[in-house]
């Protein structure tokens, strides 16, 4: 398989064309948005809780296949987990799911959604942010 075919493997293109959890939540308990100024990717994420558990999570965005597909996969991964669990979720867990080789530039695309979700949980549930984001209102991955 060529480098390109592995980057744009079937599952990535499927998530890009048919994103899971795409849309809005009427009365979200937490929300945030973020962008990658380098390429103009944008993602906003809204979360609804039942108790401590994420009952529903939806995203909207404009961006490359990698950023949108990774966010779509993330939506599937975090439903049913607690805010605390997701706040401490490692990037490797998402990257394993994405499962493609990424250059440093494209890595930022793949991690945009996870960053925005952690920011939403921080704003809505007070979970800790990764140290380097202390004090941000809107995530910008540089």
């Amino acid at each position: 398989m060529s480098e390109l075919d592995s980057l744009y493997r079937e599952v990535i293109l499927d998530h890009y064309k048919n994103p899971r959890g795409h849309g809005l939540i009427d009365t979200p308990d937490a929300e945030a948005e973020g962008q990658n100024p380098l390429c103009g990717d944008e993602v906003s994420i809204a979360v609804a809780f039942e108790g401590d558990t994420i009952a529903d999570v939806k995203f909207q965005g404009r961006g490359c296949a990698i950023s949108q597909a990774a966010t779509s996969m993330l939506m599937d991964m975090v439903k049913g987990r607690t805010a605390q669990e997701v706040a401490t979720m490692s990037r490797e867990e998402l990257l394993d799911e994405v499962g493609i080789p990424l250059t440093p530039v494209r890595l930022k695309c793949a991690l945009l959604g996870l960053g925005v979700l952690k920011l939403a949980l921080h704003k809505g549930r007070g979970t800790p942010l990764p140290e380097e984001w202390a004090g941000v209102d809107e995530l910008e991955l540089r």
């Binding site: 060529s2 390109l4 380098l38 390429c39 103009g40 404009r62 961006g63 296949a65």
Partner: protein
Amino acid sequence: MAVTTEAKLDARRLRADFPIFEQPIHGKPLAYLDSANSSQKPRQVLDTVRDFYETSYANVHRAVYELGLRSDAAFDGAREKARVFVNAETTGEVIFTRNATEGLNLVAYAWGLDNLGPGDLVLVTELEHHSNFVPWQFIAERKGADFAAIPIDSGGELRLEALDELEARGRVRLVACGLVSNSLGTVNPVAELAAWAHERGAIMVVDAAQAAPHRPLNVQALGCDFLAFTGHKMCAPSGIGVLWGRRELLERMSPFELGGEMIRKVTVERTTWNDLPHKFEAGTPPIAQAVGLGAAIDYLTETGLEAIERHEAELTAYAWGRLSEVPGLTLYGPPPDRRAGIVSFNLEGIHPHDVAQIVDSEGVAVRAGHHCNQPLMTRLGINATTRASFYLYTLPEEIDRLVDGLHKARKLFG
């Protein structure tokens, strides 16, 4: 002015001057369609810089020994080449900067802080690169002046008829406009804008970053007051740029950066400033980079800027036709006969980042993103484009390879 020659540029021969093309990328010849971002460097420039370091390098304007004299001669010689390149009256008006951004910031701070205030209006355009937008927005706000952007029409050209309405907002003090748009390739009517600005007592600042590498420049004919460009887009090393400014304005301005070289006399009580252009060149300048810029100017002048402009016009018309054949492709900006060698487009349903990555696998380098043009992207209702840009070494078959890559992207995402 040089006599216009109708000689055709031989891109294939010039290409041999650029060592970067000797290596394959992903096993294929490199099709470098990102020269608006930064150009590749010819051997003539690389050799000049290396030779300068190996035989003549010392700090400038302070060493009394032989190498210092050689270094001065090379550095000052480069400034003279830059003077001729833009048709400035004196080398005192030619300030070396790091890049176009620094030149524009110099004017924004050194002119703007002392000359702008409440009731004043600073005008830029919706086409501006952030480097000719954000400094004005920032300084205007700091000084309580109003700030506005001249709008574009749906074809990506300035709507000069909007000036009357904009003018009603305040006393126009400064108009800042790029000669060539870095996203759309639009060639702006800068001379016309400069005349309009001067009728109102305003000054005209021109960002020539996308023009200097590709077409003859003449600050007298443009009638502007400041003009900035950068070396790295015109075959020179990165880290060197030029700001040209009218002597009478430069003389009245406060310095921008402060330190060594830019002073005449320093005491505890007060400091006085050096003559132009040194007043605006604090610290050790990018010496070898300036020498490299001089070599790049020689290279472009020998190649012929008119010939470069014509070569790129042919490529642009060709690219316009070929890209128009691709289903689902939207081209932005004016038609080929009213633009420089830059084309921005989008493929339906495929983000520019993905487009750029897919064509890269074919050895084709294009830019994807907002190109430091976020206000323009907002105006166009998009957040990014794919951009192909051409230079003296670009061949038509490289545009064919881009088009092939776009078909591949459509198939992959189909």
